[in-house]
C-alpha cells in the first residue's frame, strides 16, 4: 500500500467515525430528524468498515 493510499484510507475511516458521532449532536440540538441521523450512522459505519480493515494491522499478544 502506498503512502498516499494509506493516508486516503485513514482519512475516509476517520470521516466515517465523525459521521457516526456528529449527527447525534445535531439531534440533541433539535437541528436534525432522528431518521436522518439513523441513515447517517449507517453511512458512517460503511465508511469505517470499508476502509479501516485495510490499514488497521493485526497483532499477536498471545492472549
Amino acid at each position: 500500500m502506498t503512502k498516499n493510499s494509506h493516508f486516503f484510507l485513514r482519512l475516509v475511516s476517520y470521516s466515517g467515525l465523525a459521521i457516526s458521532f456528529l449527527p447525534a449532536l445535531l439531534v440533541f440540538q433539535g437541528m436534525m430528524a432522528k431518521e436522518t441521523y439513523f441513515q447517517l450512522l449507517l453511512v458512517g459505519m460503511l465508511l469505517w468498515f470499508g476502509t479501516a480493515i485495510f490499514w488497521i494491522k493485526p497483532d499477536d499478544l498471545g492472549g
Binding site: A24, G44, A52, I56, G63
Partner: protein, 499 residues
C-alpha cells in the same frame, strides 16, 4: 507427592503450553499504542449494554454511577499498573506457568477446568446479547425475565442456536482473522454508544446540558430499584467496576498480555479500556435504557424489556443493531476459544476442535437462559471472587515471601503436584466471603447467623464490597499455611528448579 511419579496427564498438559513456557524475548516486546488499542478493544463488549442497564434497574443514583464507577475503574487501573504489570515484565511468563509454579499442576488443572466453565457462561451471555439483535430484525421478541419469562420462545431459541453455532464454528476454524476484525470494530463502537446516548437525551427531556444532572437523577439513575431487582448504591458501583475484571488485574490473568510490555508503566494503558468501556459505555447504556423504558411507558407498555437490541435500536437505529451484534460476536469468539484452551488442559488427549465444540454447546445452552443476563453482574462478581485468590498468591509469593524468609515457587521447587496452602487460601477465602454474603441473601443459609459471633452476624456484606476482604483472607491463609508448610518440611531444596 513426588515429581518422580508425575502422571502422564501433567506431562501432556505441560506439552500443551510448551510453546510459551520460555520468558518472552526482548525483540518481541510491544509499545504503548499496542496496549492502548488492545485494552480499548477488549473492554468494549456486548456485555456493556447489559451492565450499564442493570445499574439503572438496580436503582443507583447519578452520583453513585458517576463517582462510584470513576473510583472503581481507577482502582482497577491501579491494580493493573501496580500489581499485575510489574510482575509480568519481571517474570515474562503466562499466568498458567506462574500458577503452576506456586500451586502445582493439579490445582492448575482444576483452575483451568473451572475457568473454562465460567468462560462458557460469559460467552453465552455475549451470544445472548447478539441474539437480541438478530431476533429484533426478524420480529421475534426477546424474553423479558423481569416480567416472569424465564424460558425463551422456540423461535428465539432457534435464533440463539444459529448465532451460537456460527460463533462456535468460527472458534473451531481459528480466531486470528476475527481478532483482527474485532480490532477494526473496536474504535467504532464507542462512537455508537456515545451517539446513541446523546441522541436519546431529548426523549428524556434534556435539551441542553444544564438540565442533564436533574434529569439524570429524576429519570435515569433514580435511586429506586425496579421490580425484581436488588437495591444497589455507591459501593456496588465501585465494587462492580473493580471486580468485573479482577481476574485480569489482581488475579494476574493479564500477566499473559503484559509479559510483552516494554515497561511496567504500560499497565496504565488499562485506563483506556476502563474509562471507555466500563465508564463511558456503562453510562451511555444506562441513558439508553432509561430512554427506552421512558418511551415504552409513555406508549402504554407497562412492562418494557430493555434488551441490548431494543435500547440500541432506539438510540442508533440499525447501526445500533449492528453494534450489538458485533459487540457480542467479537467478544464471544475469543472467549469461547479461550474456554476451549482451558478445557483442553483437563482433557489433553482430545482434539482442540472437539473440545471447542463441546464448549460451544455449553455456551449455546447458556445463551438460552434469560436469567444469565438478568444476573450478569452477580455472575461477574462470583467469577471475580472465586478466581482472584490464585493471582493474589502470585503477588504475595513474588513480593512478600522473600521478606519473610520463605521459599518462592515452593510447589515447583519441591515437585509438589498440589500446594495445600494454595488450596486452603483459594477455597477458604471464597467460602468465607460467600457465606458472609449468603447468610443475609439466601433464605436457606439464614441459619448461619444464629451460629456466628454477634460481630459477624451483624456484618451485612454486599457481594461487590467483598473484594478487599477476599483478597486479605486469601493472602493471609496462604501465607500462614505456607509458613507452617515450610517450617514443618524444611528439607534442602533441589538446586535444579523443575522446568
Amino acid at each position: 507427592m513426588d515429581s518422580s511419579n508425575t502422571p502422564t496427564l501433567v506431562e501432556r498438559l505441560d506439552a500443551l503450553y510448551e510453546y510459551d513456557r520460555e520468558p518472552v524475548k526482548e525483540d518481541k516486546l510491544y509499545g504503548w499504542s499496542t496496549f492502548i488499542a488492545m485494552f480499548a478493544s477488549e473492554h468494549i463488549a456486548g456485555t456493556e449494554f447489559v451492565l450499564g442497564t442493570l445499574l439503572v434497574l438496580h436503582g443507583v443514583t447519578a452520583f453513585d454511577v458517576f463517582a462510584g464507577l470513576a473510583l472503581g475503574n481507577l482502582l482497577a487501573v491501579l491494580s493493573w499498573a501496580f500489581m499485575c504489570a510489574p510482575i509480568a515484565v519481571k517474570e515474562r511468563l503466562t499466568v498458567y506457568w506462574q500458577i503452576r509454579k506456586i500451586a502445582g499442576p493439579y490445582l492448575t488443572v482444576l483452575y483451568s477446568g473451572l475457568f473454562a466453565i465460567i468462560l462458557c457462561l460469559l460467552a453465552g451471555s455475549m451470544v445472548n446479547v447478539s441474539t437480541t439483535a438478530v431476533s429484533l430484525t426478524m420480529g421475534i421478541p426477546s424474553p423479558n425475565y423481569a416480567a416472569g419469562e424465564t424460558v425463551p420462545s422456540i423461535p428465539w431459541i432457534l435464533v440463539a442456536v444459529g448465532v451460537g453455532t456460527v460463533i462456535a464454528v468460527l472458534a473451531v476454524l481459528g480466531f486470528e482473522r476475527l481478532t483482527h476484525f474485532a480490532k477494526v470494530v473496536a474504535p467504532w463502537m464507542p462512537f455508537v454508544f456515545l451517539a446513541g446516548a446523546i441522541a436519546s437525551l431529548p426523549s428524556l427531556g434534556v435539551t441542553n446540558l444544564s438540565q442533564f444532572w436533574d434529569v439524570a437523577n429524576e429519570k435515569i439513575w433514580t435511586g429506586e430499584a425496579h421490580e425484581g431487582h436488588m437495591q444497589y448504591g455507591f459501593w456496588s458501583c465501585v465494587g462492580l467496576a473493580w471486580l468485573c475484571n479482577i481476574c485480569q488485574h489482581m488475579g494476574m490473568g493479564d500477566v499473559t498480555i503484559f509479559r510483552y510490555a516494554r515497561k511496567w508503566q504500560m499497565g496504565f494503558c488499562s485506563a483506556f479500556g476502563m474509562f471507555l468501556g466500563h465508564y463511558m459505555a456503562w453510562i451511555c447504556s444506562g441513558i439508553l435504557c432509561a430512554a427506552f423504558v421512558h418511551t415504552r411507558l409513555a406508549a402504554g407498555d407497562m412492562s418494557p424489556n430493555p434488551t441490548p437490541a431494543n435500547i440500541a435500536m432506539l438510540g442508533a437505529g440499525y447501526a445500533g443493531i449492528v453494534c450489538v451484534l458485533l459487540a457480542g460476536w467479537t467478544t464471544a469468539n475469543p472467549t469461547l476459544y479461550r474456554a476451549g484452551l482451558a478445557f483442553q488442559v483437563a482433557t489433553p488427549n482430545w482434539r482442540r476442535w472437539i473440545v471447542t465444540l463441546i464448549a460451544g454447546v455449553v455456551m449455546i445452552i447458556t445463551a438460552c437462559i434469560p436469567a444469565v443476563l438478568h444476573y450478569l453482574d452477580r455472575i461477574v462478581a462470583y467469577y471475580g471472587l472465586f478466581f482472584m485468590p490464585l493471582g493474589a498468591f502470585i503477588f504475595i509469593d513474588f513480593w512478600l515471601f522473600p521478606r519473610l524468609g520463605l521459599v518462592q515457587n515452593y510447589a515447583e521447587r519441591k515437585g509438589l503436584l498440589a500446594s495445600w496452602p494454595a488450596a486452603v487460601g483459594w477455597f477458604g477465602s471464597f467460602a468465607i466471603c460467600f457465606l458472609l454474603y449468603a447468610k443475609d441473601n439466601y433464605e436457606s443459609l439464614g441459619w448461619i447467623n444464629d451460629r456466628l459471633p454477634a460481630m459477624l452476624a451483624k456484618y451485612h456484606a454486599d457481594l461487590f464490597s467483598q473484594v478487599l476482604p477476599a483478597w486479605v483472607i486469601a493472602v493471609t491463609l496462604y501465607t500462614v499455611c505456607s509458613l507452617v508448610q515450610q517450617r514443618l518440611s524444611p528439607t534442602v531444596l533441589s538446586s535444579e528448579v523443575q522446568q
